[in-house]
C-alpha cells in the first residue's frame, strides 16, 4: 500500500502567552479519510501547519509511516510525501493545466522539453480516476475543477498523505460530493491517506472513516465515524458544560421600549460582489445583549462592516433609537452609537498615530478637545488620554506612543476606553476578545455587561459560543447570510446551535429577532 500512516504524539504549540495547541495525540490510519473537526480557533490549522512544517510544533513528535520525523519546513514534509491543499487556490490562473502541474515540481531544468512532459502528463492522467484536459487554461476552470487540479497536483507530485483544508468551502454541493467521493475512493484503494479539516458534519458522516475533534487547542475525542453520531460530535465540538457567569448581576429592563438598534431586511455584498448578508432583520432593545452566533464566513464580517459604515448596504434599512441611521458622524454622536470591531488595530485605530490621538477619535471635533469649533487642543487630548489610560490600565502608560507598538490586549483596552463612554446607547461588538489573554477577556466582558446594565443596546457578533452563552440575553444564529435560528441562553443547547451554525438544520420560517 502506498498510503502513509501519520501520528502525532503530544503535539503542542504556544504563541506568546497563548497555548494554541496542547498535548494533542492522534493517529491517521493508512488508506483512510480522517476528519478534523473543531470551531474556529480550536487549533486545527495550527496542528496541520505543524504537520506540514509551515509552523513547526513546539512540543511533541510526528510519526510518519511509523517512524519519527523532524518536520521543520514544508520541504521536509514534501520529501516525506505529505502535501496540503489549501482553502484558497494556489494555481497560476494565466497558465494551462499542464504548465501548472509541471511548475508545481519546483525544481525544473533551464529548458523544458514540453513534448516529453506532455507525454508524461497524458500517461499520468490516464491513470487518474478523474481527468482534466491538460491544454485548458486554468482561468477557464470552474471552482470544482480547480479544486480537482489542486488534488491532481498532489497526486502528480507523488504525495501519499494529503491534507485538505476545508476542501468544499468554495465548491457547490455537487462539486463537493464529487471531489470528496474521489478522495474517499483513492484512499480506500490504498493510494493515499487523507486528513481533512471541516466544519460540516454531513461530510464527516458520509466521507470520513475516522474523526478527531479539537476544542480550545485540546483533543476532545477521536473515534471511528461508524461508532459516533452528530449529537456526540456537536457536544464534543461545542463543549458539554457552560461555565456559570461569575460576572455582574443582570439588571432587568422593561421590554416595552423603542429598540436601540433595528435592522430590517439588510442585504450586503462582499468584495466579490455576491450577497454575503441576504436579508437580515433583527432588533436590539436598550439594556439587552443580542448575540449572533455563526461559523466565520457566513456574512458576519459584512454585516458588521455595514453597521459600522465601512461597507455600503445594497438593500434594507437600519434604525437607531427609532430614527433612520446611515452611520454618519453626526448620527453616531447624536444617537451615541459606538463599536468594538474585531482586529481593533485594523478597524478602529490608526497605527501610526499616538495613543492619545487614537483615544480622541470619537470627539476631537467637540469641546473640550477642540477650541472655537475648529482648533485641535492637543494639550486637552493628551490630558484626557492620561486619565483614560489610567482608568483602563493601558500599558505602557505613555500617551505619545504610536498605538501600533502596543500589544493586542492593550490596543483593545484603549479602544474600549474610547468606545465605552458613560452614555453609550448602541454598541456593535465583533469578536471582542479574539486572541486576548485571560485578564483582558475578563475586563472586556465585565465592561460589556456594565454597558448593558446601564441601558445600552448591545449587538455581539462572536464565533465563540461560550462568550455568547455567557453574555447574551438572546442568541441568533447566522448561516449563509441569513438568520436561521433564535433562542435564549437558558434554553440553548450547543448541539442544536451547532447544527444551525453548520447549516444542517433550517427553521421552517425566517426568524426575525
Amino acid at each position: 500500500m502506498r498510503a502513509l500512516s501519520l501520528e502525532t504524539i503530544g503535539a503542542g504549540k504556544v504563541f506568546g502567552n497563548f497555548r494554541a495547541l496542547d498535548n494533542v495525540s492522534m493517529r491517521v490510519r493508512p488508506g483512510t479519510v480522517h476528519a478534523l473537526l473543531g470551531e474556529n480557533g480550536a487549533g486545527k490549522s495550527t496542528l496541520v501547519k505543524g504537520i506540514v512544517g509551515y509552523g513547526p510544533l513546539d512540543e511533541g513528535s510526528v510519526l510518519v509511516g511509523g517512524k519519527e520525523q523532524s518536520i521543520q519546513s514544508p520541504r521536509d514534509s514534501h520529501s516525506l510525501g505529505i502535501g496540503m491543499v489549501y482553502q484558497h487556490f494556489t494555481v497560476a490562473p494565466g497558465l494551462s493545466v499542464a504548465e501548472n502541474l509541471v511548475l508545481s515540481r519546483g525544481e525544473l531544468p533551464w529548458a523544458i522539453d514540453w513534448k516529453q512532459e506532455r507525454a508524461a502528463l497524458d500517461a499520468f492522467m490516464a491513470r487518474m480516476p478523474f481527468k482534466l484536459d491538460i491544454e485548458r487554461a486554468v482561468s477557464s476552470l470552474a471552482a470544482g475543477e480547480k479544486q480537482k487540479l489542486e488534488i491532481l497536483k498532489q497526486l502528480y507530485l507523488d504525495r501519499r498523505f494529503i491534507i485538505l483544508d476545508e476542501p468544499t468551502s468554495v465548491l457547490t454541493p455537487q462539486e463537493a460530493e464529487e471531489v470528496l467521493g474521489l478522495m474517499q475512493q483513492l484512499a480506500h484503494a490504498g493510494e493515499l491517506s487523507v486528513l481533512m479539516i471541516t466544519h460540516k458534519f454531513g461530510e464527516v458522516m458520509r466521507f470520513a472513516d475516522d474523526v478527531t475533534v479539537l476544542r480550545r487547542g485540546q483533543l476532545v475525542g477521536s473515534k471511528a465515524v461508524a461508532d459516533t453520531d452528530e449529537a456526540e460530535l456537536s457536544a464534543w465540538m461545542m463543549g458539554e458544560s457552560r461555565e456559570q457567569s461569575t460576572a455582574l448581576e443582570r439588571v432587568e429592563h422593561l421590554a416595552e421600549r423603542t429598540p436601540g438598534l433595528e435592522v430590517s431586511n439588510l442585504k450586503v455584498a462582499n468584495d466579490r460582489g455576491t450577497l454575503a448578508v441576504r436579508g437580515v432583520s433583527l432588533s436590539v432593545l436598550p439594556g439587552e445583549i443580542v448575540g449572533i452566533a455563526g461559523i466565520s464566513g457566513n456574512g458576519q464580517r459584512e454585516l458588521t462592516e455595514a453597521l459600522l459604515g465601512q461597507r455600503p448596504a445594497s438593500a434594507g434599512e437600519v434604525r437607531v433609537n427609532g430614527r433612520p441611521y446611515s452611520a454618519s458622524r453626526a448620527e453616531m454622536q447624536r444617537e451615541k452609537v459606538y463599536s468594538l470591531p474585531e482586529e481593533p488595530l485594523r478597524n478602529a485605530c490608526i497605527a501610526g498615530l499616538s495613543v492619545a490621538e487614537n483615544l480622541a477619535l470619537r470627539d476631537y471635533d467637540h469641546a473640550p478637545l477642540c477650541r472655537s469649533g475648529w482648533l485641535i487642543n492637543r494639550k486637552a487630548i493628551r490630558e484626557r488620554a492620561r486619565e483614560l489610560i489610567g482608568r483602563f490600565q493601558v500599558r505602557p502608560n505613555d500617551p505619545d506612543r504610536p498605538i501600533g507598538t502596543l500589544s493586542g490586549g492593550n490596543v483593545q483596552r484603549a479602544v474600549l476606553a474610547r468606545e465605552l463612554t458613560e452614555d453609550v446607547a448602541v454598541l456593535i461588538v465583533s469578536n471582542p476578545v479574539f486572541g486576548l489573554d485571560f485578564a483582558s477577556v475578563e475586563l472586556i466582558h465585565r465592561r460589556l455587561l456594565e454597558a448593558r446594565n446601564r441601558g445600552a443596546a448591545v449587538l455581539l457578533l462572536s464565533e465563540d459560543l461560550d462568550e455568547l452563552l455567557e453574555l447574551s440575553d438572546r442568541i441568533l444564529v447566522i448561516h449563509d447570510g441569513e438568520i436561521n435560528h433564535q433562542t435564549v441562553p437558558a434554553e440553548a443547547e450547543r448541539q442544536v446551535l451547532g447544527r444551525y451554525m453548520a447549516g444542517t438544520e433550517h427553521s421552517a420560517q425566517q426568524v426575525a429577532g
Binding site: 452611520a327 458622524r329 498615530l353 477619535l361 475648529w374 506612543r401 507598538t405
Partner: protein
C-alpha cells in the same frame, strides 16, 4: 542629567528630518562623482551651485523668484498626501490655472486693478482645484489610481492649454510664440520692493504654506484628513465623510497649483504661453517629498531647490556644463530621497527608544 534629557528630546524631534539629510549627503557624493567622471572640477562646480543660488543679492532674488511657484506646486502634492493620496499632476492644474488667470481680464474689462487681480486669482484657483478635485473624485467614486490618473490628466491639461493658446485664445499679434492677449502693464504684479526684486508670489506662497500648516496640524479638518490617510476603515468607522474629505484636500491642493500658474502669468510672463509649462509641477513633487509633506519644511526645501535651479546658468557660463546638469542634480536628489524614505519604520522605533530614555532620565531626576 538634565542636558542629556534635552539631547534625547531634541533627537526625537529631529529624527524625522534624517532621511532628507542623508539624501542630501548621498546626492552631494553622487553629483561629485558624476562631475569627476566627466573630468569637470567637481568641487568648484559645487561651490558654483552655492554661489549661483545664494552668493549675491541677485542670486537670492533669482532663487526666491523660482521658489515661489515651487511652494504652491508642492502644496498640491503635500495636501492630498495628508489623506493618503499621491498626486503628481500638479503641472496640469498649474497651466490651466495660469490660462484661466490670463483670460479673466478679457471677460471682466474695466474692473479696477485690485478686484481684477483677485478675480484672476480666484478663477485660477477654481480651475486648478477643479482639475485635481477631479482626480480625487475619480479615485473615490470610480476606483481610479490617483497617481496615474493625475499624471494622465496633467497631459490632457497641457494639451488643452496648447490647443486653446494656439487656437481660439491666441493673440493674433503673437507670431512665433503663440500667447494669449498680454495683460495690461497696470495688472502686472510687481516686485515686493525696488530693493528686493522678487514678486509677491513669494509672500503668497509662504502664507499658503503657513495656512496649510495650520490646517493640517491644528485644525479639526486636518486631524480628520490624517485619520483618512492613516486608516480609511477607521475613518469610516468613526463616521467621517471620507469621499468629501479626500476631494476637499485635492481641491485645496489644486487651487494652490492654479495660483502658482496665475503668478507665472501675472508676475513673470505677462500672458499665458508655453513658457509656463516649465516643469514646476514636477519640481513641486520633489519639494514636497524632500519636505516629507510638511508645509513648513516646504518653504525651506522650495528655496533650496529654487537655488539649485537658479545656479544652472552659472554652471553653464563658467564650466561649460549643459543646462541639464541641474536637472540631473534634481534627479539624483529625488531618487535618494525615495531610497532613504525606506528608513521611516526604523525612525519610528528609534524615536520611541529616545523618548523612553528621556522618560527614564526624567524619572531618575524626580526620584534622585
Amino acid at each position: 542629567m538634565k542636558p542629556r534629557n534635552a539631547v534625547y528630546r531634541a533627537g526625537g524631534l529631529l529624527l524625522p528630518g534624517l532621511p532628507t539629510l542623508l539624501a542630501a549627503l548621498t546626492t552631494f557624493v553622487l553629483f561629485m562623482l558624476f562631475l569627476v567622471v566627466q573630468g569637470k572640477p567637481a568641487w568648484q562646480a559645487c561651490q558654483l551651485v552655492v554661489q549661483g543660488a545664494f552668493g549675491s543679492a541677485f542670486a537670492w532674488e533669482n532663487t526666491l523668484q523660482r521658489a515661489a511657484p515651487l511652494m504652491l506646486a508642492a502644496l498640491c502634492v503635500a495636501l492630498p498626501a495628508r489623506a493618503g493620496l499621491i498626486i503628481i499632476g500638479g503641472e496640469g492644474a498649474l497651466v490651466l490655472g495660469g490660462l484661466a488667470a490670463a483670460v479673466t481680464p478679457l471677460w471682466l474689462p474695466g474692473l479696477p486693478v485690485v478686484p481684477l487681480l483677485l478675480c484672476m486669482a480666484l478663477s485660477a484657483m477654481v480651475v486648478g482645484g477643479f482639475w485635481i478635485g477631479l482626480n480625487g473624485w475619480m479615485r473615490q467614486k470610480r476606483g481610479l489610481n490617483e497617481t496615474i490618473g493625475s499624471l494622465l490628466l496633467s497631459y490632457v491639461a497641457i494639451a488643452i492649454f496648447n490647443q486653446l493658446v494656439e487656437g481660439p485664445l491666441r493673440d493674433p499679434a503673437s507670431l512665433n510664440k503663440p500667447s494669449t492677449i498680454p495683460l495690461d502693464d497696470s495688472v502686472m504684479i510687481g516686485p515686493i520692493s525696488d530693493a528686493f526684486q522678487v514678486h509677491w508670489g513669494l509672500v503668497v506662497g509662504v502664507i499658503a504654506c503657513l495656512l496649510a500648516q495650520v490646517l493640517v496640524r491644528n485644525s479639526v479638518t486636518g486631524f480628520s484628513l490624517q485619520v483618512v490617510g492613516g486608516n480609511v476603515r477607521t475613518a469610516r468607522m468613526i463616521g467621517l465623510p471620507v469621499d468629501r474629505l479626500v476631494i476637499l484636500t485635492c481641491v485645496l491642493g489644486g487651487a494652490c497649483a492654479g495660483l502658482a500658474g496665475m503668478f507665472e502669468v501675472a508676475a513673470v510672463q505677462g500672458s499665458a504661453n508655453a513658457a509656463i509649462i516649465a516643469g514646476y509641477g514636477a519640481s513641486g513633487i520633489l519639494v514636497a517629498f524632500a519636505a516629507r509633506q510638511n508645509p513648513l519644511a516646504i518653504i525651506v526645501c522650495a528655496i533650496l531647490l529654487g537655488g539649485i535651479e537658479a545656479s544652472g546658468s552659472l554652471l553653464q557660463r563658467r564650466l561649460g556644463l549643459p543646462n541639464a546638469t541641474t536637472l540631473i542634480l534634481e534627479g539624483i536628489l529625488f531618487t535618494s530621497l525615495l531610497a532613504w524614505e525606506a528608513l521611516t519604520p526604523r525612525i519610528v522605533a528609534w524615536r520611541l527608544r529616545l523618548n523612553e530614555r528621556a522618560e527614564q532620565t526624567q524619572g531618575a531626576l524626580q526620584h534622585g
